[in-house]
Structure formats: structure tokens, C-alpha cells
């Protein structure tokens, strides 16, 4: 395995697909679809191969030697530009226990979303080309270990998303697309500033002994790489580091989305076509929390510890606020969108605990929310395709008309409620185990548990309004799931139940890295480990 650029393969395979599609004719709709399916299928296989070759005992996080599938070479080098010095940017990819689950998630969700894109009718060629580009952007974010590269992928994913919502979306698609784009870009500006600040503060020693500024994330985690007077150096007594942390956090928080930066999400979801909602909720939101774990936590452990109460507070607000607002919705898709806000709150709460159980719960919850919410958006998509409406009060009794569909609905809804035996329970329970064990945020943890009550409330109420009761005669001709839809729901249901019964399957991947991260943050800096 060694030496084979598997991460580049998994990341850029979709671009290859995009190029193939560009050479196909507009009329070859089916070929385009099968090409995309094949490409995402191969990507999924590659991700699984990675998992099979994954070393569960490698720490990663800050230590280059224990990252896996590393690819690192000089990408850009401009020698000696006056005051700038040598500009050096690496093409640096690698995986540890925190990114591995995200890679699997991206591959799974992209594959399912391709199946769900089957009935897209408008300009198919453009749609699938952009779809594949989006796939590359997401995957790139999860494998980059160089801040510059990370930033490029982060921005790369914006462009196709903008067009996918703006062209293939619903009635208010332009508004939603622009709101999404500008809001995220607004956050990216902060990220860019912090990135440049860090670049000018940190050094990397080259093979010939010269010190150059660096975008290498791992180098930024080591305090010995900072000069005493660098603006974002840990030795600098000014509170610029604190401000930088918050700026970076806001950049990530918009993506999560964290209250009060969440209002782009319901609009984007309501307008986006089903497969794009699936990707958006399934993968994109995780980029925010992943960014915090990958960048904010290990580079700013000092500030992270100072602010943990605030992160937990915003986690709690997300959980409760999202749940309450979901309860007030009349639009099925909007309800699921707000439930995402609530469920991402658990990720924040778990992360804030800075314990192994809490952070494992958070990473696991990222994965589980990805699969479960993907199912929920597919469920909305199924009736929207058939009935062309999403009003919660316009249905009723669909369980009689579409029993197989209703079966999957029951699985997905109870998974979202956090029923034991489904994956969501384990991650939420771990989040609570972690956050409750920390005295400082115990009260917030207890208050957050109200979210599991409200969650049962809005999900079961929805189940009742749409699926139970007497069949609304208007919908007496709706057909049950077809084979393609079956293929979307079955694998997701299996994953959700399998991980609910056997959570070790996912938790073992991350434990070593999470422990390392917990140590790193709690002990201040990387050098003082173990």
C-alpha cells in the first residue's frame, strides 16, 4: 500500500468523472448518470479499502509520522521575495482517526445522493459535472493537512454548491443560493485572515536547515515553531490569539451552523433539490465541526480550554433552540433542517467536554447525523417527488398507502429520536457521558437533555401528521418505493442499525486519535505529551 497515492485518488476521482462527463453529449443522459454512479461507487470502494488498511493504533492529530496514507510534496515554492521570504506551500494529505470516519461518510453520502439524483431532468450534464466537483471539494477538506490546501478545498466546494442550489433549486433558489454563498464566504474571510496570521507566525525548518514560514497545520501545533514575537505566537502576550480563535471559530460556526449563524440553512435546504439537501446536511455541516477539531483545537489549545464553557453553551442553545423551532414548523423539509441545527448541537456539546467520551461522541454523532439526516431528507424527497408538496398538515395516513416507505420512515425517525439499538443513541449518550463528567458544564449538559424530549416530540408529531391516521383520499394513488429508492434506504438503514448494535465498528477507528487530541488540548501543547 505504501507509496500509492490513495488519498489523491479518493479526492480527485470525481474530477476525472467530471472530465469524462464534459466529453459526453447532452443527450447521453443515462451514460452521464451511470458514469457518476460508477465514479462515486469506486470512490466508496476506495474508502473501504482505506478503512481495511487503516492502523487503529496510530495517533495522528499533531504527529506527522503517525498520520496514514501521507502524501507530501512541494507544491508552490517562490524563493526569496523581499520581505516575504521564501513562499512555500505543500501538497500535504494524510488521515487519522478523526478524518477517517468523515471520509467514509463523504463516500457513502455521495453515492446515495447520486442514486437520489436519478430523476433530475434539467441540464443533466451540468448537474452531474458540478456534483462531482462538489464531491472533490468535500473530500479534499477532510484529507488536507496544509492550511492553504484546506482553504482551497473549502472554497472549491462553495462554487458548485452555489450553482446546484441556484439552478436546480425551488422557487426562491436565487435568494437561497446567494445567501448560502455570501454567508459562507463571510466566514471564509475570517478564516483567511487567521490563516495568513498563522503563516507569518509559524516556521518550518527545511532539510537544509533554513527556516521558512509555513501553512503546515501540524507545524502550527508545535509551539517551538513559533517565534516569540509572531502575531499569533503563543508566546505573544497580546490577546490577538484570542481574537484569532474567535474569528476562526465564527468561520467554522457558520458552516455547522451554530446559533445565531444558522438562518441560511433552512432556506438553503428548502430550496435545494433533494440530493443536494442530502449532501448539505450529510457532509457539509460536518466540515464546520471537523475544522474546529482539526485546526482550532490543536493549534489553540490554550484558548480552547478558556472557552469550553462557551462552546458548550452554544451547543446547548443549538440543541434546545433548534428543537423548539422545529416544533413550530409546517414545512416537512424545514422541520428536518431545524432538527439538524438541534442535532449538530450535540456535536458542539460533546466537543466542549474535552473528554474522550465526549469528543468520540461528537465525531460519532457527526457520522450518525450524516447518515440519519440523509435518510430524513430522502424521505421528504420521496413524497415531494410524488405529491409536489411538503406541508405537514396536507398528508395523513400514508402508512396505509405506502407501507414499505413507512417502515423506513419509522427506522429513520426513531434513529433521529435516539432510540437505543440505532447509532444515534450511542453518540448522544457518549456526548452526555462526556459533558456530564465535567463539572464546569454539567448544568449545561443536564439542560441539554431536554433536547431528547423535544426531539421525540417533533418527530413523533410529524410521524403522526404525515403517516398515521386516516388516509387523505387525495393521495390514494401514491406509489410505494421503487427499486432505486429501495437501494437508497436499505444501505443507510443497515448502517444505522449496525452501528447502533456494534458501535465499536466506528469508535475503535477514532479512539487513539481522540485520546491524543484530548491529551494535547488538556496539556496545553503537543511537546509535553505522554
Amino acid at each position: 500500500m505504501a507509496g500509492f497515492p490513495i488519498l489523491s485518488l479518493v479526492t480527485f476521482l470525481p474530477v476525472l468523472g467530471m472530465i469524462i462527463i464534459m466529453f459526453l453529449k447532452k443527450e447521453q443522459a443515462l451514460t452521464i448518470k451511470y458514469t457518476t454512479l460508477l465514479i462515486t461507487g469506486i470512490q466508496l470502494v476506495v474508502a473501504v479499502v482505506m478503512l481495511l488498511n487503516f492502523n487503529y493504533n496510530a495517533q495522528g492529530v499533531f504527529q506527522q509520522s503517525s498520520f496514514q496514507f501521507i502524501e507530501k510534496f512541494r507544491w508552490i515554492q517562490v524563493p526569496g521575495v523581499s520581505w516575504l521570504g521564501t513562499v512555500k506551500i505543500d501538497y500535504f494529505l494524510g488521515v487519522d482517526g478523526i478524518s477517517m470516519p468523515m471520509i467514509l461518510l463523504t463516500a457513502i453520502v455521495s453515492f446515495i445522493a447520486t442514486l437520489s439524483s436519478w430523476n433530475i431532468e434539467k441540464s443533466i450534464k451540468g448537474y452531474f459535472a458540478l456534483f462531482l466537483l462538489l464531491d472533490t471539494g468535500m473530500m479534499g477538506v477532510f484529507v488536507s493537512l496544509d492550511f492553504f490546501l484546506f482553504y482551497i478545498f473549502w472554497e472549491l466546494m462553495l462554487l458548485p454548491m452555489y450553482f446546484l442550489i441556484g439552478i436546480w433549486g425551488g422557487p426562491r433558489k436565487e435568494y437561497a443560493a446567494i445567501k448560502f454563498f455570501i454567508y459562507t464566504l463571510f466566514g471564509s474571510v475570517f478564516m483567511l485572515l487567521v490563516m495568513i496570521g498563522l503563516y507569518f507566525s509559524a516556521f518550518e525548518t527545511l532539510a537544509d536547515g533554513t527556516k521558512v514560514h509555513t501553512f503546515n497545520l501540524l507545524a502550527m501545533m508545535d509551539p517551538s515553531n513559533f517565534s516569540a514575537n509572531g502575531i499569533l505566537s503563543p508566546f505573544n502576550p497580546s490577546n490577538l490569539r484570542f481574537i484569532a480563535y474567535i474569528a476562526l471559530f465564527v468561520g467554522f460556526a457558520i458552516k455547522i451552523p451554530m446559533f445565531p449563524f444558522h438562518t441560511w440553512l433552512p432556506d438553503a435546504h428548502v430550496e435545494a433539490p433533494t440530493p443536494i439537501s442530502v449532501i448539505l446536511a450529510g457532509v457539509l455541516l460536518k466540515m464546520g465541526t471537523y475544522g474546529i477539531l482539526r485546526i482550532s483545537y490543536p493549534i489553540f489549545p490554550d484558548i480552547t480550554k478558556q472557552l469550553m464553557w462557551w462552546i458548550a453553551l452554544f451547543g446547548m442553545i443549538n440543541i434546545l433552540y433548534g428543537a423548539f423551532v422545529a416544533l413550530a414548523q409546517k414545512d416537512f423539509k424545514k422541520l428536518i433542517a431545524y432538527s439538524s441545527v438541534s442535532h449538530m448541537g450535540y456535536v458542539l456539546l460533546g466537543m466542549a467536554s474535552l473528554t474522550t467520551a465526549g469528543i468520540s461522541g461528537a465525531v460519532f454523532q457527526m457520522f450518525n447525523h450524516g447518515t440519519i439526516t440523509a435518510m430524513l431528507f430522502l424521505i421528504v424527497g420521496v413524497i415531494y417527488d410524488r405529491a409536489h408538496t411538503r406541508g405537514l398538515d396536507e398528508f395523513g395516513g400514508l402508512a396505509v398507502q405506502m407501507p414499505i416507505y413507512a417502515g423506513f420512515v419509522t427506522v429513520a425517525f426513531f434513529a433521529a429520536i435516539g432510540l437505543p439499538s440505532m447509532s444515534g443513541f450511542v453518540s448522544e449518550a457518549l456526548v452526555f457521558v462526556g459533558s456530564f463528567s465535567v463539572e464546569g458544564i454539567r448544568v449545561l449538559s443536564i439542560l441539554s437533555s431536554l433536547g431528547i424530549l423535544l426531539g421525540a416530540g417533533y418527530m413523533l408529531w410529524t410521524l403522526q401528521r404525515v403517516y398515521l391516521g386516516k388516509l387523505n383520499e387525495k393521495w390514494a394513488n401514491l406509489k410505494d418505493l421503487d427499486v432505486r429508492e429501495y437501494l437508497m434506504f436499505v444501505p443507510l438503514s443497515i448502517i444505522v442499525i449496525f452501528l447502533g448494535v456494534y458501535p465499536s465498528g466506528m469508535l475503535n477507528i477514532m479512539t487513539t486519535s481522540v485520546n491524543t487530541l484530548v491529551n494535547l488540548v488538556n496539556n496545553g501543547f503537543a511537546k509535553v505529551l505522554f
Binding site: 467520551a357 457521558v433 456530564f436 421525540a456
Partner: protein, 708 residues
């Protein structure tokens, strides 16, 4: 039969019903006879369970435990290894529960073959019974709190599915939703309690937690947290066992098919709450026990008063279930541990019999449930009548029945508790409820089976149930006789059930957190120190004897007073019922007239549902609407406002650009154009004009510079 074989068998019996569920759910549409597969499964489960119970009770005095790591975190900073264990523990309680759960489950399966006949989702019904049996067995077999919570939620799911089985009815889907959500309230408390224990002890296993507490390691080093943990875990029982203030879901749960009510909402699942308290009994402090006793007593009283006036046959039984569960909880609160568990078992049988009996009546009356339209059914349904009567005698606490034994024990326990602690209102409520129970149960029997039929049409079509429905009734009624539990019809103490199988566990609570009557006497403590060898030989696994001698004596003294008083109360209740409804010496209508406010209060269930609707439900919905308004108007308004402001500013700068910046550029151009335009007029091309300019220029220079 080795221990490991017993463990294996218990795992088989746990997963068989799940297999049944999976197979029937996946194939039920294709094969109409799949329910027979489910019958096969439950029969096998029953046989294996009986085997396990027999071997455990006969040959193994100690507990059989096996566990494995479900998942774990190694090398956790500051902790080491964090294990999330799952495991099986077979002790006497488990063995007895295995018999109760599987026997009733089997009988209910049998009963349902006929009762549910012709239902369009017939197979699915049986598969749901399968997943219920699986979840319930999980609760019974587990040795730790985490697994308890997991199966706790799973029985909640099966209960949700079965209450809402006829989900086309709005009332059914409402009831199932209500049941799940109300239970979640209790579950949050339970989960918080579990978190307190796990945070401190890093284990979910009952025995390991108790061991740590007995070694003096209290949660967060404070007895208050121990009390809190006990009460919070008990909250799970408040939800599942329908205790006040979370009892409201159980009566509504009667929307489910009647055999389901018998199995889940009377005999087994609702008793899981009692079982949970039984499991954590060893760590309950005096304060926690007081809370539990009060909740139990209040619940049993409220439910009994509501049952007095209900007219739906299933509603009466539902409230009587709530009331009897309150009894069990109260019994645990006052320390009458073994009688609480005893009552759980006896109640399971006679209440299942009552519910299946009501199912038989409802079936015969073509889904009529209102007792005002019944009457005289004794002649039409003799088997149903006699089995129903025996169970009613049992629940009323008449000698020679199982209910008499367990109820009498509980009442003696409350009396002792009142004597030793001064909380006299608990025995007072206990005996009052005994009277009310006898009254409303005989009211039910008389109105349903005695007298003249009030709806002749339905009466004429009524018919006794076939064998598969009658057999479970007979079996359950037989199990309501004393002989199965003790040879002595008036004292259960000598019976094998209490003397051999169910013993009060050793408490692990620190001395100063116990009731006085549970404290270890000074003398004994001294003896322990002087004779360590003896102590060791007799030492339990951990903890100390729960009841002091003072308690044993007091309990002994209460035995006969409690017995006579409880018989008197039951007799009085039955007498009133006959006076009013059978012999009509006292007019029911007149009573109703005279006590109108009280009657209305009872009929409307103390208005508790209305109160919750108006406060919690309406409040939550209003709050959620308000937050949504804030979200769309203020927060999103701020976002859109920022966009508007940006656009306004950009328009302003656009204007500035157009008029000022570009204006300046254009003005410059204009100016040079203007100047050029005007100055070109000087260029005339005539030599004379130029000569004049030159002359003028020379004159000006001469005047200005004065070169002369």
C-alpha cells in the same frame, strides 16, 4: 446443567423473539400463516425460560453472571480504560420474572390468535408481540443500568407500536405518541441518574456500583448526590410504571388491542418500573425511600378514586393497574421489598386475567366497552365470568387468593413503617385504597356480569369465547390461588416464594443515611469487630443486613392487625358495591347527585390531562412559535438587514462614484474642453490681431516688471 449453559440458554431465549420479529416483518406480507412461526418461537422461549428458572431456583443459590465489553475506550486520559459492559445476571428475581413474562406472553399470543382474527395486519401484530417480548426479556436479564436503559427504551418502542396498532384512529395515534413522550420525561431523569453513577464509578453494573458505595465512596462525595441518583433513576420507574405525576399515558394506552393491554400495560412492561426500583433498592437512602413511598401512596390513591366512576371496562382496569403499581412502589418505599416483588408477580397474573377477561367480553359484545350497556353476561359467558370473579377476589385481597397474601404483606409493611417513622398517612392511604379497590372492582363485576342485560341486541349476540381464548383465562385464574406461592393461605412468610426465593438485599447506604429501623445496631457492630472471622464467613457479597431486629419485631406485631383491617376494608368495599349496584339499596344516581362535584372530579380524572394540556403542551407550543418568530424576524431579519444595509451602502458609494469621483473626472474633461473652446476664439489667423496682442503684452510687461 452448567452455569455457562444456563447463560447460553438465557441468551437464546432473549434473541428468539427478536428472530421471530425479524422473520415475520420481512415475510409477513407474502405468507399469511407467518403468525404460526411467531407462536412456535414464543413456545420455545417459554420452554427454555421454564428450564432456566427451574435449574436456577433448584440448584443455584448464588447469582449466575456473565458479561462482555460492548465497547470500550482504552488509555483514556485521567481514567484508564472506560468499559461499556453488557451482561446477563440470573438471580432468583430474574428466574421468577422469566416465568412471569414468558408465561403471560405465551398466553396472550394464544388469546390473540382468535381475538385479532381477521385484522388486516394480523402477522404484523404478532411480530410486534415478538419485539416486545425480546425487549422485556432484556430488562429482566440485564446486570447493568445501561442495558436496562436500552431495553427500557425498546419496550417503549414496542409499546408505541402496539398502542398505535390501529393507527388509522386519531385517538390511537395520539395515545401512542403520548405514551412515548411522557415516558421520555421519566427516562431523562433516569438517564441523569445513570450519568451520576457512571461519572463516579465508571461502570453501569449494579453490583460494581453497590460495591463502591458500600466501601464508602459516595457520588461526588456527598450523600445528597446518592439520594439524587436514587430518585432520578426512580424517575424512570415513575414514567414506565405510570406513577403520579406521569401516570396520564397509561389509561390512554388502552387504545391498543386488549390482549396488548393485558401483556404490556398491566402485567409486564408497566411492572418494569417496579423491577427497576427492586434492582436499585440496595442504594436507596432514607430520603429517596420516603419520596418513593409518598409517590406510590399518592398514585394508588388518585388512581383508585378515578377508577370509581369510569364506565369503560378497560379504563377501570387501567386505573386499577395504576393504583396497584402505586402499591408496589409504596411497598418498596416503606422497605417491604419482598412483598413488593411478590405483589408484582401475583398482580401480573390476576391483572392479565382481568384484562383478557375484559377482552373476552369486548369480543363477545362486538367491541362494546361501555359497562352501562352490559349486564347479565354471567349466563352467556360463564368461563369468563368465573375467572374474572376469581381475579377480582384476588385484587380485592380476599383470603385464599394470591392477592390477599401480597397485599396483606404490603399493608403490614406500611403499618410498620407508620409506627416506626410516624408517617401515618401512608398506611392510612394504603388501607383506604384497599377499600376503594374492592368497591370499584365489584362495581365492575356487578355491572358487567350480574343483573339484567341493558343492551338486549348486543346481549343476544354474545357468545362464550372459543378454547384458545378461554384456556389462558383459566390458567391465569388458577395462578391467582394461594397454593402456588405458600401452603398457608393466610401467611406468605413461610411459603417458598418469600422464605426461599425472594430475600431483601443488603443495603449499601451509609448508616447515617438510612432509616432508623434499617441501621445496624451498635451491638452487632461491636460483635463484628470482635469476631471478624465469623463476620467474614457470613458476610454477604457486600453491604449489610437491611432490616434491624426492631423492624422484624414491629413487622411481626403488625401482621395480624393489618390482616384483619385489610379483610375488613375489602369486605366493606364489596358490601357497598353490592348495596349500591346489586341490591340497589342505595341509589347510585342519588349518590352521584349528592356528591356531584366529587363525582365530576373523579370522572374527569382530577382534570390532570386538562392541566397538562393547558400548561406544558400549550406552553411548549407557544414558546416554540415565539422562538420561530424570533428566528425568522429578528435573527434572519438581522442577516437580511445586513444585506440590505450593505446594498444601501453600495448604492450610496455607487452614487458617490457616479457623481463625485466620476463627476470630477468628467468635470476635468469638461473644463479642458470649455477652456479650449473659448481660447480657440483668440486664434483668428490675422497678423494685425497678433500685433495688437504683442503690443499689449509688451505694455503689460513694462508695467509689471518695470525694467526701466
Amino acid at each position: 446443567m452448567t452455569e455457562s449453559l444456563l447463560i447460553t440458554l438465557s441468551i437464546v431465549t432473549l434473541f428468539l423473539p427478536l428472530l421471530g420479529f425479524a422473520v415475520v416483518v420481512l415475510t409477513g406480507k407474502k405468507f399469511s400463516k407467518m403468525y404460526l412461526f411467531e407462536m412456535l418461537i414464543i413456545s420455545a422461549t417459554l420452554l427454555i425460560s421454564l428450564t432456566i428458572a427451574f435449574f436456577k431456583l433448584s440448584y443455584y443459590p448464588h447469582d449466575i453472571v456473565a458479561s462482555l465489553d460492548w465497547f470500550k475506550f482504552s488509555n483514556v486520559p485521567g481514567i484508564g480504560t472506560l468499559n461499556f459492559e453488557i451482561g446477563v445476571k440470573i438471580d432468583n428475581l430474574t428466574a421468577l420474572m422469566l416465568i412471569v413474562v414468558n408465561l403471560i406472553s405465551f398466553l396472550v399470543h394464544l388469546f390473540s390468535i382468535e381475538y385479532m382474527h381477521g385484522d388486516p395486519r394480523y402477522n404484523r401484530y404478532f411480530s410486534y408481540l415478538g419485539i416486545f417480548t425480546f425487549s422485556m426479556l432484556g430488562i429482566v436479564l440485564t446486570h447493568n443500568l445501561l442495558m436496562m436503559y436500552i431495553f427500557w427504551e425498546l419496550v417503549g418502542l414496542s409499546s408505541y407500536l402496539l398502542i398505535g396498532f390501529w393507527f388509522e384512529k386519531k385517538s390511537a395515534s395520539d395515545a401512542s405518541k403520548k405514551a412515548f413522550i411522557v415516558n421520555r420525561v421519566g427516562d431523562i431523569g433516569m438517564f441523569a441518574g445513570i450519568l451520576i453513577l457512571f461519572t463516579n464509578y465508571h461502570t453501569f453494573t449494579f453490583d460494581k456500583i453497590f460495591e463502591q458505595i458500600s466501601m464508602g465512596h459516595l457520588p461526588f462525595n456527598s450523600p445528597a448526590w446518592l439520594t439524587a441518583a436514587g430518585i432520578l433513576v426512580f424517575m424512570g420507574a415513575v414514567g414506565k410504571s405510570a406513577q403520579f405525576p406521569l401516570h396520564v399515558w397509561l389509561p390512554d394506552a388502552m387504545e391498543g388491542p386488549t390482549p396488548v393491554s393485558a401483556l404490556i400495560h398491566a402485567a409486564t412492561m408497566v411492572a418494569a418500573g417496579v423491577y427497576l426500583v427492586v434492582r436499585i433498592f440496595a442504594m436507596l437512602t432514607a430520603d429517596a425511600m420516603t419520596v418513593i413511598a409518598i409517590i406510590g401512596a399518592v398514585t394508588s390513591f388518585i388512581a383508585a378514586t378515578i377508577a370509581l366512576t369510569q364506565n369503560d371496562i378497560k379504563k377501570v382496569l387501567a386505573y386499577s393497574t395504576v393504583s396497584q403499581l402505586g402499591y408496589m412502589i409504596m411497598a418498596l418505599g416503606v422497605g417491604a421489598y419482598s412483598f413488593a416483588f411478590f405483589h408484582l408477580v401475583t398482580h401480573a397474573f390476576f391483572k392479565a386475567c382481568l384484562f383478557l377477561g375484559s377482552g373476552s367480553v369486548i369480543h363477545a359484545m362486538h367491541h362494546e366497552q361501555d359497562i352501562r350497556n352490559m349486564g347479565g353476561l354471567r349466563k352467556k359467558l360463564p368461563i369468563t365470568y368465573y375467572t374474572f370473579l376469581i381475579s377480582t377476589l384476588a385484587i380485592s385481597g380476599i383470603p385464599f387468593t394470591s392477592g390477599f397474601l401480597s397485599k396483606d404483606g404490603i399493608l403490614a409493611g406500611t403499618l410498620t413503617f407508620g409506627k416506626l417513622t410516624g408517617y401515618w398517612f401512608i398506611p392510612a392511604l394504603g388501607f383506604l385504597v384497599a377499600l376503594l379497590t374492592a368497591f370499584y372492582m365489584f362495581r365492575l363485576v356487578i355491572l358487567t356480569f350480574h343483573g339484567e342485560p341493558r343492551d338486549h341486541h348486543k346481549y343476544d349476540h354474545a357468545h362464550e369465547s372459543p378454547f384458545v381464548m378461554a384456556a389462558p383465562l383459566v390458567i391465569l385464574a388458577t395462578l391467582s390461588i394461594f397454593i402456588w406461592y405458600t401452603p398457608n393461605p393466610v401467611g406468605a412468610d413461610q411459603g417458598w416464594f418469600l422464605s426461599k426465593w425472594v430475600k431483601t438485599p443488603h443495603t449499601v447506604v451509609p448508616q447515617n443515611q438510612r432509616f432508623n429501623f434499617m441501621k445496624t445496631e451498635e451491638k452487632t457492630a461491636a460483635a463484628e469487630t470482635s469476631e471478624p472471622a465469623l463476620h467474614e464467613a457470613e458476610a454477604p457479597v457486600h453491604g449489610e443486613i437491611t432490616h434491624s431486629e426492631m423492624y422484624t419485631e414491629a413487622m411481626h406485631a403488625s401482621h395480624y392487625p393489618a390482616m384483619f383491617l385489610s379483610i375488613a376494608m375489602a369486605g366493606l368495599g364489596i358490601l357497598f358495591a353490592f348495596l349500591i349496584y346489586q341490591w340497589k339499596k342505595i341509589s347510585a344516581d342519588m349518590l352521584e347527585e349528592k356528591l356531584r362535584p366529587l363525582h365530576k372530579f373523579s370522572l374527569n380524572k382530577w382534570y390532570i390531562d386538562e392541566l397538562y394540556d393547558a400548561t406544558w403542551i400549550a406552553g411548549t407550543l407557544a414558546f416554540s412559535k415565539m422562538l420561530y418568530w424570533i428566528d425568522s424576524v429578528i435573527i434572519d431579519g438581522a442577516v437580511n438587514g445586513a444585506a440590505t444595509v450593505t446594498r444601501f451602502v453600495s448604492r450610496l458609494s455607487g452614487l458617490f462614484d457616479t457623481f463625485v469621483v466620476d463627476g470630477f473626472v468628467n468635470f476635468t474633461a469638461f473644463l479642458s474642453g470649455f477652456i479650449g473652446l473659448n481660447f480657440k476664439k483668440l486664434q483668428t489667423g490675422k497678423v494685425q490681431t497678433y500685433v495688437i496682442f504683442v503690443v499689449f503684452a509688451i505694455i503689460i510687461i513694462m508695467l509689471v516688471f518695470k525694467p526701466y
